[in-house]
């Protein structure tokens, strides 16, 4: 099975090779994010090296105090060693504390730098990914990538990595200090490393799997939750609450179980660590005690050795705790790197062609399209739409009208053949020029939370308020907007829930008006409007479309009145093509449709 991109995201049973491939891509990602921070990274490492070294000196100084300074005082009334030890302790302490504080800030800065880098990458990349990716992946998953996954990386980078680096350095230095203080105890500690290593390896392997499971479980929880909250009306109207509750409870239980397993692992690892530590301590004490009895070791030194042994295992416990942070972050990183690995189905051109003033001449040249391999939706066809022409695209639902429109606005690329704007293949056109030239308004008039004015301004981000109002007036939206509580500043709530469906369409229409493109595509953009409002829109359209190319998809054939040319689609093919007057009087499909529509008016 492939683990490329987001495939295999729901699995937790990777083979070794697959695990390696996934790990490698995460490491690559992290590496590339770290690269620009090399200098800061080195400084940070130096700071932590010095800080940790300073932190290891303590017990040795206490030993000196007991073994040297106290006897010196008792025997010779010599205050110098004591003063030296105390001052040394204070100096090292202050230095260490400041360096550690500095290290905290430095590592947070690095962490934030990496995070913001990843955030932007994921954001931009998800914007680039084509619609078919989004349709399958669901928004809930992207939300969990950008929130909970990035958060666990943040926690790792801000606290965990610091802890890991600091902890392992600390263990290393402690070990060195212990060895130089008393090599016999050092050897004992070395022996203790063997069970420690085995234990930790077991824990690493076991917990990695569990962390993947918690990630998967939490993502499922998020997806279910988001979907049922977004569709709450339908949930209520169709009494889906009980079933939802059951499904949700199952997911909650999965998640709980995964969490409990993780805690259980810690419940084994943590006491086992303490056990190894305490046994080592006892052995060190036994050997040390016997050697003191023989006069081979000073008491202060024994204390230092014991303190070192104890503190050696201190970070091991914490590192275990942070190891889980590491685990959950690397599980998260795997998911994120998977998303980033997804290739956009509609890639940006490598050497884009600029098109400053598009005239709006659209051509399909032996284009073919299918959403999924093997199911051709639009069989091969050619079509030439001269600049400035207004086209009415009609046909039954599912005929492929929207698909054709999506191809022109390059939501998808044709699977065969090409589509050109003013002779330039859309795939080579600079994305900015493409989007400025071609705008599509869809039936699902999505509004972003924010004011009405903000939503219209999507069409032209730097538009002034008068411009925005002019656009609204042109499509007949001004009147109702003024009756809203705060007029143009009224918040439309999530997904525009504050305004009615028809009003949403008017707003998104004004948006397109403001964008002022050379090619305008309207895909059932007025389907929820009442007839008078639609008529107003059409009047606006007549002026708007005078000098631009337009493709209007509508079931109410009143649009035909303003069209220069009609295309009729059936099952993905264009079956009729001609001037409206000509088609209406004929015997074809359009004549039927038009007659049916005339009948439907009374």
């Amino acid at each position: 099975m492939s683990v490329h991109g987001v495939t295999g995201e729901e699995r937790d049973d990777f083979t070794r090779a697959e695990s390696r491939a996934i790990r490698q891509r995460s490491t690559r990602l992290l590496g590339s994010a770290l690269k620009p921070l090399k200098k800061k990274f080195i400084v940070t490492v130096v700071v932590i090296l010095v800080a940790t070294a300073a932190s290891v000196v303590g017990p040795a100084l206490i030993a000196l105090g007991i073994d040297r300074a106290l006897p010196a005082l008792l025997e010779r009334e010599d205050w110098v060693p004591l003063a030296a030890v105390i001052i040394g302790y204070l100096l090292v302490g202050v230095l260490g504390a400041f360096l550690v504080a500095r290290f905290q800030v430095l590592s947070a800065e690095i962490a934030q730098e990496i995070l913001i880098d990843l955030r932007k990458r994921v954001f931009l990349h998800t914007q680039r990914l084509s619609l078919d990716f989004h349709e399958n992946y669901t928004s809930g998953r992207i939300i969990s990538r950008q929130t909970s996954d990035l958060d666990s990386i943040r926690e790792l980078l801000a606290g965990g990595v610091a802890q890991l680096v600091q902890g392992s350095l600390f263990m290393l230095f402690t070990f060195v200090a212990l060895f130089s203080l008393d090599w016999v105890s050092g050897l004992i500690l070395l022996a203790a490393l063997i069970p420690l290593a085995f234990l930790t390896r077991w824990f690493a392997l076991a917990s990695q799997k569990m962390f993947r499971r918690t990630r998967v479980a939490s993502a499922r929880l998020i997806v279910h939750f988001v979907e049922s909250m977004t569709g709450i009306r339908a949930v209520k109207a169709f009494r889906k609450e009980k079933r939802n509750e059951e499904d949700f409870a199952e997911l909650v239980e999965d998640y709980r179980d995964a969490n409990a397993k993780v805690i259980q692992l810690f419940g084994t690892y943590d006491p086992a660590l303490v056990l190894i530590g305490n046994v080592t301590l006892a052995v060190v004490l036994l050997v040390g005690g016997l050697r003191i009895a023989q006069g081979e070791l000073a008491i202060g030194a024994l204390l230092a050795v014991l303190l070192y042994t104890r503190q050696f295992f201190g970070p091991a416990q914490e590192m275990a705790m942070f190891y889980n942070g590491y685990q959950s972050a690397s599980a998260a990183l795997e998911k994120i790197s998977g998303v980033l690995e997804e290739k956009p189905g509609v890639p940006d051109p490598t050497t884009p062609i600029d098109l400053w003033e598009a005239r709006g001449h659209v051509r399909f040249d032996r284009a073919e399209f299918s959403y999924k391999e093997g199911r051709v939706v639009l069989p091969e066809f050619s079509l030439d739409i001269p600049a400035g022409q207004t086209i009415a695209l009609v046909g039954s639902t599912g005929a492929g009208k929207t698909t054709l429109a999506k191809l022109i606005s390059r939501f998808y690329d044709p699977t065969k053949g090409s589509i050109t704007l003013d002779g330039v293949d859309l795939r080579k056109l600079h994305p900015k020029d493409l989007r400025r030239a071609i705008v599509m308004v869809t039936q699902e008039a999505y509004l972003f939370s924010g004011s009405v004015a903000d939503n219209i301004a999507i069409g032209k981000p730097d538009a002034s308020l008068p411009e925005i109002e002019a656009a609204a007036r042109a499509v007949g939206a001004d009147e109702f907007i003024r009756t809203l509580p705060q007029g143009y500043d009224t918040d439309v709530n999530k997904r525009g829930g504050r305004v009615s469906a028809g009003q949403r369409q008017l707003i998104s229409f004004a948006r397109a008006f403001l964008a002022n493109p050379s090619v305008l595509i309207l895909d059932e953009a007025t389907s929820s409007l009442d007839i008078p409002s639609e008529r107003l829109v059409q009047e606006g359209l007549q002026t708007l479309l005078a000098d631009r190319t337009a493709i209007i998809i509508a079931h109410r054939l009143s649009t035909v009145a303003i069209a220069d040319r009609v295309l009729v689609m059936e099952k993905g093919r264009i079956v009729e093509d001609g001037a409206p007057e000509q088609l209406i009087t004929g015997e074809g499909r359009f004549a039927q449709l038009h007659a049916a529509w005339r009948d439907s008016l009374v």
Binding site: V56, S152, E227, G398, L593, L601
Partner: protein
């Protein structure tokens, strides 16, 4: 930083276990009106925690024994140093070491026990809280969901509850145990030497004070960072849901700019947070180090004066080392407790929300449903509409006789969709009543009511499950298939002209994707219609159900619908004459009232406004038509 013993990262307490802290945003939600005390707030968890109490208490006891054992080890050491070691009596060393070994093993066992005891309660309490939260959210009315971003609810559902679990599993146990440990530890220190012990105690006070002050400052920053993270999450959510618009206008980069500036804000806050943490680190390291240095000075001096043995000194430092971590941790455990209190607050902020649309205490039932739907002087206004504006629905009187099909016609924004939401109590009327077969809908249980009335919304929300599950959503008896399920499914698909689903890759078992967006608009709408029809309700409420259909398909659907509508009461919002033709009568909604009811031709003849709303013919044709009708 010469620190014997524990060195902990300040975030250690907050960052145990599989954390993922989800951002949250509260800017738009109301802060709780009354602020309870921390203890009182957290105590609200008690009903959930109660069944787990024995285990938590046992866990605490285990932890306490473990801590005491850890403290006894230095005492044995002290005896060892002053006794056998001083005397050079190696025979005595072994039993003392064995004792220490036994104590060491006991400590490990106690830690294991503590872990084991608190394992289940934390996660179970969390699950219970989470399920209750979800149940509550599904129960709360649509008006509530209008106000709350789903991201904000999500963060409560996930990160706040995770927080509570961690606190229950670690925070509370460690907090209480560490305080007791510190108490006992100081007892030991003082027993070794009064001056040294009291001195040590006094020197550690700054940490506690700073820890407390820090907490206050820190929680402000944390809250801000959570808010900013919430805005960021909302930006992400919208950038994905609105991807079609963003692509159509090529505004991905523009959104990225907004997103980036929000992300930069968040980074600023996060770094500020790191500085605060660095500040407390400084104290946490500096204070104990200075204390240790002073203790060393004092200890050596006391020993010099003969008031302290070497064993005492060893015992003192060994004990102080054991105490270092509990002392350091108090500040953070405190802050974790405050954070938990915030989490509990946020949780109950939703749980305390009073549901205005509830089942009556003694729900009535309709013995023999006929499907007479009556709007009796209905008034309705949205919660946020300005005061000087008249009610959106300003006295609606309308009766749908059993089996009758009524079309509802009105301008965009006149309140048609709002009206259709009232019979199923998605919103409750603010005046008057909606009656079903003479019973006020508020006197029926919601479950019962909604089994009588089925809806199709104007935006056809589908769920990301199979076509079958989507269409049979209103038929609970078919949830697991069952006899008749296929027939019901086929019939509904037939009526809604949604037989295209048989051509999908997996037929009726094809998953329709998030919100059904991989289907064309008209296909989605037909499935939503099929869903309403399949429910076989007494009353059908269809909000503009044919808007996305082409004329042919529309005609087919209409023909099929007529059969259903012959026996079912229906309220159909319509924009087009063709849809209106389905209806026996038409009601015209204008300025919040039903200003005219009658057949299509009656209204065409008598109502100026109706002609304005429904007729798309040119004015001259329009008048021709009127003459025709009048004639």
């Amino acid at each position: 930083m010469p620190s014997p013993g524990g060195r902990r990262n300040p975030s250690i307490v907050a960052t145990t276990q599989e954390d993922f802290v989800l951002p949250e945003s509260d800017r738009t939600t109301n802060p709780p009106t009354e602020r309870r005390g921390t203890v009182a707030t957290i105590f609200r968890l008690y009903p959930y925690v109660k069944p787990a109490m024995p285990r938590i208490v046992l866990g605490m006891i285990a932890a306490l024994i473990g801590a005491v054992v850890a403290l006894i080890i230095p005492q044995v050491l002290r005896g060892l140093v002053d006794g056998p070691l001083q005397d050079g009596d190696s025979a005595q060393v072994v039993p003392a070491v064995l004792l220490i070994l036994a104590l060491g093993v006991l400590e490990a066992v106690m830690i294991a026990l503590r872990r084991w005891f608190v394992l289940t309660p934390g996660t179970q309490v969390e699950s219970r809280l989470r399920n209750d939260f979800y149940r509550k959210l599904q129960d709360l009315p649509v008006a509530f969901h209008d106000r709350w971003q789903s991201g904000q609810l999500l963060s409560r559902m996930l990160s706040d509850l995770n927080h509570i679990r961690r606190w229950l599993s670690f925070g509370i146990v460690l907090f209480i145990v560490n305080i007791v440990t510190i108490g006992i530890g100081f007892g030991f220190l003082i027993s070794i030497n009064v001056y040294l012990g009291v001195g040590f105690l006094i020197c550690s006070i700054p940490i506690w004070i700073y820890g407390y002050v820090f907490e206050k400052k820190y929680s402000v920053i944390t809250r801000r960072s959570q808010d900013q993270a919430g805005d960021l999450a909302t930006a992400v959510e919208e950038s994905v849901h609105g991807i079609r618009v963003l692509k159509a206008f090529g505004r991905g980069k523009h959104m990225l700019r907004n997103f980036s500036s929000q992300a930069e804000d968040l980074r600023g806050t996060e770094i500020e947070k790191a500085r605060a943490i660095a500040g407390i680190w400084l104290w946490l390291l500096l204070v104990p180090d200075v204390t240790f240095a002073l203790a060393l000075l004092a200890g050596v001096l006391l020993a010099y004066n003969g008031e302290l043995s070497v064993g005492d000194l060893v015992g003192f430092f060994a004990t102080a080392t054991v105490l270092r971590w509990p002392i350091e941790s108090i500040g953070f455990l405190l802050s974790m407790t405050f954070d938990t209190r915030t989490a509990v607050d946020r949780y109950f902020e939703v749980m305390d929300e009073t549901n205005t649309i509830v089942d009556p205490a003694e729900p009535k039932t309709i013995a023999e449903p006929h499907g007479r739907l009556t709007f009796d002087g209905v008034h309705f206004r949205y919660q946020d509409s300005p005061e000087n504006v008249p009610d959106l629905l300003n006295g609606i009187d309308l009766t749908l006789e059993p089996g009758e099909t009524m079309a509802l016609v009105g301008l965009t924004g006149s309140g048609k969709s709002t009206l259709t939401a009232l019979p199923t109590r998605l919103y409750d009327v603010t005046g008057g009543a909606v009656l079903l077969d003479g019973v006020d809908v508020r006197e029926l249980s919601r479950e019962d009511l909604r089994s009588h009335i089925a809806m199709a919304f104007e935006d056809a929300t589908l769920f990301s499950s199979s076509v079958r599950d989507n269409v049979l959503l209103g038929r609970q008896e078919f949830a697991d298939g069952g006899p008749g399920a296929d027939a019901a499914l086929a019939e509904a698909l037939e009526i809604a002209q949604a037989t295209f689903v048989y051509d999908l890759p997996d037929g009726v078992d094809t998953k329709v994707g998030e919100e059904g967006l991989s289907l064309s608009g008209g296909q989605r709408q037909r499935l939503a219609l099929a869903r309403a029809v399949a429910a076989k309700p007494d009353v059908l409420v269809l909000d503009d159900p044919l808007s996305a259909l082409d004329v042919d398909t529309e005609a087919l659907v209409e023909a099929a619908l007529r059969r259903v509508l012959a026996s079912t009461t229906a309220l159909i919002v319509a924009h087009r004459p063709s849809t209106v033709m389905l209806a026996d009568r038409v009601a015209l909604l204008e300025n919040g009232r039903i200003t005219a009811v009658g057949t299509h031709s009656q209204l065409l003849a008598t109502s100026e406004h109706y002609r304005f709303v429904i007729s798309s013919l040119e004015d001259d044709q329009d008048s021709d038509l009127r003459e025709e009708v009048n004639a």
